[in-house]
């Protein structure tokens, strides 16, 4: 039972990596993985909210009555989402426009509420930070990887997060496989990645 802080962190990277192992919070995973830059940007925003809300929920875990805990968690999460929204408008406005309504929708991302309910409300703050950071980094890696596959096939490029650099992967005769960056490609691609994860995990 006595897991170390390191274990709490690393479990988010493989054992419980969302959205592959914990099939939660699929909407942003499908919607913002058209380019690597968007995917990673979303991952970082979600990680920030996840870590902050985990800390606050964990510190207040003995104060919040259990009957009203879910509304309390939602308000804590919503507060940090507003913080992210305002910060992104100030420092990364193009990314903010790209992600659109999916930034406010971090509020209803089941991963964050799930971690608050399943972990942070039962554990001390330090362990909760490790848990939030682990799951958040795992989520970011997953989004980046999925976006990498979709962008490479669908547009023949890889965009570097937090800069305007775009790397061309193929020569001029490359015909983009547009299916991958459209909605159907998102579902099929995630489905196949999940199948590969199942194959490797077993």
């Amino acid at each position: 039972m006595a897991k170390t802080i390191v274990q709490e962190f690393t479990k988010g990277l493989w054992e419980e990596i969302p959205p592959f192992r914990l099939v939660l919070g699929l909407c942003p995973v499908l919607a913002v993985t058209k380019t690597v830059a968007n995917g990673v940007g979303m991952g970082v925003a979600a990680t920030f909210v996840l870590v902050c809300s985990n800390v606050l929920v964990s510190m207040l875990r003995n104060i919040i009555p259990s009957q009203v805990r879910v509304p309390c968690f939602i308000i804590i999460i919503a507060t940090f989402v507003v913080v992210v929204e305002l910060v992104m408008q100030a420092v990364a406005y193009p990314l903010f426009l790209q992600l659109g309504i999916f930034i406010p929708l971090i509020v209803v991302n089941c991963i964050i509420l799930g971690r608050a309910e399943a972990f942070a409300s039962k554990n001390p703050p330090v362990a909760s930070i490790a848990d939030g950071l682990g799951i958040g980094v795992g989520f970011t890696i997953a989004l980046g990887a999925l976006a990498g596959i979709r962008e490479a096939f669908g547009a023949g490029t890889i965009s570097i997060p937090f800069s305007d650099t775009v790397i061309q992967l193929f020569g001029p005769s490359f015909e983009p496989f547009t299916f991958m960056v459209e909605a159907p490609g998102a579902f099929v691609c995630l489905g196949l990645v999940l199948a590969i994860m199942n194959l490797v995990g077993k």
Binding site: F179, V188, L194, N198
Partner: protein, 191 residues
């Protein structure tokens, strides 16, 4: 009138909330294993979203916009939706027990259904007037219901079929959803 019909068709088919806009995928995968659950979830979403659309639109028009508090929208909307869902649940339990028996277990899940919050935000973002908002708040969940019920039908067949080991359950469901999404993409030429 023509514009309204176009908006409704657009929201149901062309911009289908599940398959094209990627909103509300957790209940999509969670409740589509049986037709009964899918129907219940679809009805609950239509019911709640119609109310939530109206209430959040009024909140935006009466409080947030005149007071310049647009940055508080996320918090206000989620609280309004959560309170509304709770209220609907209590009201239904008391006065419509038959309906509650069918939809009751889906109601708490709706608070964290991003389709509900998503449509409320789309209504504001597209600057719809009251009538347009009303149509979009009914048409989007109708599209959600259509996709969910069609998908539940497919999934009931998949369960009987022989699926290769690693693809089982969620994986094959996502691939199937992908091909459904492809067929919905075909409506793009309609408007």
């Amino acid at each position: 009138m023509g514009d309204y019909i176009l908006l409704a068709v657009g929201a149901i088919l062309v911009n289908n909330i599940l398959l094209i806009q990627y909103l509300g995928n957790c209940p999509f995968l969670g409740t589509s294993k049986s037709m009964d659950n899918a129907t219940g979830m679809a009805m609950a979403v239509v019911f709640v979203l119609a109310l939530a659309g109206i209430v959040t639109w009024i909140f935006e028009a009466v409080f947030l916009k005149p007071l310049g508090l647009e940055y508080m929208r996320t918090i206000v909307f989620i609280v309004v939706i959560a309170a509304l869902v709770q209220f609907v649940e209590i009201f239904m339990k008391k006065s419509m027990p038959a309906l509650y028996a069918g939809l009751g277990i889906f109601l708490p899940l709706i608070t964290t259904n991003c389709a509900v919050m998503g449509v409320c935000l789309i209504n504001i973002k597209e600057e719809y007037n009251f009538m347009e908002m009303l149509i979009s708040s009914i048409a989007y969940p109708a599209g959600f219901g259509l996709a969910l019920i069609l998908f539940a039908g497919l999934r009931e067949r998949i369960i009987i079929g022989r699926v290769p080991g690693p693809l089982q359950d969620v994986s094959i469901a996502l691939v199937t959803a992908g091909f459904m999404s492809l067929s919905f993409l075909g409506f793009k030429g309609m408007i």
